[in-house]
C-alpha cells in the first residue's frame, strides 16, 4: 500500500514547498517511537500530569432508561478537559525532540488549542494558535485558557471563520515558517504523516478501554460509539478494536457536517478523504452547534473504514445533541462537551432496539464547561 494511505485515502497533498518539512517530521517521529527515554517521559506525563488512565464508568441510570448496558469512557476527566491532551503532549515532546523553536496549531472548539497551549507551557516552547473568528466568539472560555497558558491566539477572519479556515491559515503560516515551527495538528486529518502521528498518540484511549471493559464485564463490547469531526477521539478508541470484527464501530457526525454521510472523496487540507463539496469540487461550509464537529472534511482512516464497512457513520442533529447534553447532566451528573453529546445522542436512539445484555461504550471525548455560555443562551437560563 502506498505510504501515507489508509486504503484509498490519505496521501500528502501539499505544496511542494512543504514536503521537506513533513519528511523531516516523519523521520523524527520514527526515531521518537523507538526512543525509550521519550516513551517513558510521555507515559509519566500522561499519568502524573494529565491524569491517565481515565475511568470507564458504568452509567447505571441511563442503562436502566435505555434498556442496555451503557459505559462511558471518561476522556472528559483528562487534564485540559478533552482527549486532545493525549495528542498535544505527545507531539509537543516530539517538537522538543526535534529542537523546534515554536509550535503552531489550529483549533475548532478550542480544546486542541488549549491542550497545545498547556503542553507548550509545560515544555517551554512558545505556542501560536489559529482559530476561526466565529469559534473565538462561541468558545471564548477556551481562548482565555490558551492566553493564560501564554499562547498567542490568532483570530482568522477569512472564509467561514471556523475550523477549516483556521487550518488554511495555519498551513499558510507553516509553509513560510517550517524550518523553526512545528505544526501540531489536532486530529487524524491533514497530510501524511499527521493522521498516523495523531493516531499513535490517541490509541491509548482504546488500549485502556479494552483492558477496562474486560475487567468490568469479562467480554468485549458489542458497540463502540464516538463523535467524528476530524475523527481523532474515534480513531483513538476504535483502534484497539478494529481487528475484533464482532465489535461494531459507529462514528457520529453532526448532521450538517456529515462528510462521510453526505460528502464524496476529495482533496482538502493535504489529504484525500470524504469531504462536503459541490459538483465542481468547491468545499461546502459545514454547520454545527458544536465547533469541534463543524468541519467539512474527515480523517482518511475513517474514509477507509467506511468503504471497508468496518465502521458505520450516522448523523445527529443539533437538537438531538442538545437533548443528550441535558440528559447526561440530569441523569448521571456529568456535563459533556456538545461534541461528545452527539455520540450519546446516538446511543439514546438505540434505546429499546438492542438486546438488554448489549454492552455499549460511548467515548465521552470531553467535558462541557466550554459550552456553558452557549447553552445558557440557547436554553435561556
Amino acid at each position: 500500500m502506498k505510504k501515507g494511505y489508509f486504503g484509498n485515502y490519505g496521501g500528502i497533498f501539499v505544496n511542494e514547498m512543504l514536503v521537506p518539512a513533513l519528511q523531516e517530521v516523519e523521520k523524527a517521529f520514527a526515531a521518537f517511537k523507538k526512543d525509550q527515554q521519550q516513551k517513558q517521559r510521555l507515559k509519566d506525563l500522561l499519568q502524573n500530569f494529565a491524569g491517565r488512565p481515565t475511568p470507564l464508568f458504568y452509567a447505571e441510570n441511563l442503562s436502566r432508561k435505555f434498556g442496555f448496558k451503557l459505559y462511558l469512557k471518561r476522556e472528559d476527566l483528562l487534564h485540559g478537559g478533552a482527549h486532545k491532551t493525549n495528542n498535544a503532549l505527545g507531539q509537543a515532546l516530539l517538537a522538543k525532540y526535534m529542537g523546534k523553536k515554536e509550535i503552531i496549531a489550529e483549533t475548532g472548539a478550542g480544546q486542541h488549542g488549549f491542550a497545545t497551549a498547556l503542553s507548550g507551557a509545560l515544555l517551554g516552547i512558545p505556542v501560536k494558535i489559529f482559530m476561526g473568528a466565529k469559534d473565538v466568539e462561541r468558545q471564548h472560555a477556551n481562548v482565555l485558557r490558551m492566553k493564560l497558558c501564554g499562547a498567542e491566539v490568532i483570530s482568522v477572519q477569512n472564509g467561514s471563520k471556523t475550523l477549516k479556515d483556521a487550518i488554511n491559515e495555519a498551513l499558510r503560516y507553516y509553509v513560510a515558517h517550517n524550518q523553526d515551527a512545528y505544526y501540531l495538528f489536532g486530529t487524524v486529518a491533514g497530510p501524511h504523516p499527521f493522521p498516523s502521528i495523531v493516531r499513535y498518540f490517541q490509541k491509548v484511549i482504546g488500549e485502556e478501554t479494552k483492558k477496562q471493559i474486560l475487567a468490568q464485564t469479562g467480554k468485549l463490547p458489542n458497540k463502540i460509539i464516538a463523535c467524528v469531526g476530524g475523527g481523532s477521539n474515534a480513531i483513538g478508541i476504535f483502534s484497539a478494536f478494529i481487528k475484533d470484527s464482532k465489535v461494531e464501530l459507529i462514528g457520529v457526525e453532526a448532521a450538517q457536517g456529515a462528510s462521510l454521510e453526505k460528502g464524496k472523496p476529495g482533496i482538502l487540507h493535504g489529504s484525500l478523504s470524504y469531504v462536503l463539496q459541490n459538483s465542481d469540487g468547491q468545499i461546502i461550509e459545514s454547520q454545527s452547534i458544536s465547533a469541534g464537529l463543524d468541519y467539512p472534511g474527515v480523517g482518511p482512516e475513517h474514509s477507509a473504514l467506511k468503504d471497508q464497512k468496518r465502521a458505520s457513520y450516522v448523523p445527529i442533529t443539533d437538537q438531538e445533541a442538545l437533548d443528550a447534553f441535558q440528559l447526561l447532566a440530569k441523569e448521571e451528573g456529568i456535563i459533556p462537551a456538545l461534541e461528545s453529546s452527539h455520540a450519546l445522542a446516538y446511543a439514546k436512539k438505540l434505546a429499546g432496539k438492542i438486546p438488554a445484555d448489549s454492552v455499549v461504550i460511548v467515548n465521552l471525548s470531553g467535558r462541557g464547561d466550554k459550552d456553558l455560555n452557549q447553552i445558557a443562551n440557547i436554553l435561556k437560563f
Binding site: I12, V14, N158, V175
Partner: protein, 259 residues
C-alpha cells in the same frame, strides 16, 4: 504542433528580456468583467498569461487572491465557465496560457477529461498548487497524453536530489517561488531567491519563471539582473481596480522594456 512556451522563451532570450507574465483569477469579479481585465493584460503587451481557477480553500494564496477567488465564486463561476473563458481568450491571442489551480477541482472534473478539455480550450500548461511530486503521477500522465505542460514549483527548500526527481515530471518551465509562503506582495525580495535562481540555472534544463511577491516595477528591475526567463505578477494586479489597470500594466511593461 507548436510549443508556445518554447517559442516565446526563445524569442525573448534573443531580445535578452524576461517574459512579462501577469496573473488573473478567472471569473474575477465575474465572467464578463474577468474577460475584460485579461483583455487589458493582452493589450498591455503580456508575453505569457497565468490564469487561476478559483477555489474555496486556496491555502497557497495570500489575502488578495483569496478575496478575488471568493468574489469569483460568489458570482457563480464554475469550472466549465473557466474553460469557456480560456477558449474565448484563445480567440484573441496566441501567447502561452498557463493555468494555476488546486487538486480537488481537477479530481472532481475527472483528471483525464480535465486535461483533454483544457487542451481543447487552448491552454498550454498547468500548475496544481497542492499536488507535489509524491502525488503527481496520474496528473502528469494525463498532461503528457494531452500535450499540456505539467509545471512544478521549486523553492529555497528544493534540494538538488529533489530537483533531479522533479525533472522527470516537469515540463514547460519551473515556477520559482521567490519567498517562502503564500502569494502576496512583499517589500524586499530576499537574497535567497537570487541564490536559488543561480543554483537552478546551473543544475536544471527548464526555463524559470519567478512568482510570488513581485509587486513593483522596482522588483522587476532587480530581478532582470538574474536572467530568468519570466516574471509573474499576481496579487498586485488582482488588487488593482479596472479603471487603474491599464496604467499599472503600462508601468510594469515599461520596467520590462527598460534595461
Amino acid at each position: 504542433m507548436i510549443d508556445r512556451y518554447a517559442q516565446t522563451f526563445k524569442e525573448l532570450q534573443n531580445k535578452k528580456k524576461p517574459a512579462f507574465c501577469p496573473f488573473a483569477v478567472l471569473g474575477h469579479p465575474n465572467k464578463n468583467e474577468s474577460f475584460k481585465r485579461i483583455q487589458e493584460y493582452i493589450k498591455a503587451g503580456a508575453d505569457i498569461l497565468e490564469l487561476g481557477i478559483p477555489f474555496s480553500d486556496p491555502v497557497a494564496d495570500g489575502p488578495a487572491i483569496q478575496i478575488a477567488d471568493e468574489e469569483a465564486l460568489n458570482s457563480g463561476i464554475s469550472t466549465r465557465d473557466c474553460l469557456e473563458l480560456i477558449t474565448k481568450i484563445r480567440t484573441i491571442t496566441q501567447i502561452p496560457i498557463g493555468i494555476l489551480c488546486y487538486g480537488n477541482i481537477v479530481l472532481q472534473y475527472g483528471i483525464k477529461k480535465f486535461y483533454k478539455d483544457l487542451k481543447n480550450a487552448g491552454a498550454d500548461s498547468i500548475l496544481i498548487a497542492d499536488i507535489p511530486l509524491e502525488e503527481i503521477a496520474p496528473f502528469h500522465q494525463a498532461a503528457k497524453q494531452n500535450g499540456i505542460h505539467q509545471v512544478m514549483i521549486v523553492s529555497e527548500n528544493t534540494t538538488l536530489n529533489r530537483l533531479k526527481k522533479l525533472e522527470k515530471f516537469s515540463s514547460g518551465f519551473y515556477y520559482v517561488v521567490s519567498t517562502m509562503g503564500v502569494t502576496g506582495e512583499r517589500k524586499n525580495l530576499n537574497d535567497n531567491v537570487k541564490k536559488l535562481i543561480r543554483k537552478l540555472q546551473k543544475h536544471s534544463l527548464l526555463p524559470l519563471m519567478i512568482g510570488f511577491g513581485i509587486s513593483t516595477p522596482g522588483h522587476i528591475k532587480e530581478l532582470q539582473k538574474t536572467n530568468t526567463d519570466g516574471l509573474i505578477i499576481g496579487s498586485k494586479l488582482v488588487k488593482t481596480p479596472f479603471k487603474k489597470l491599464p496604467l499599472t500594466l503600462k508601468k510594469f511593461k515599461d520596467a520590462f522594456n527598460s534595461n
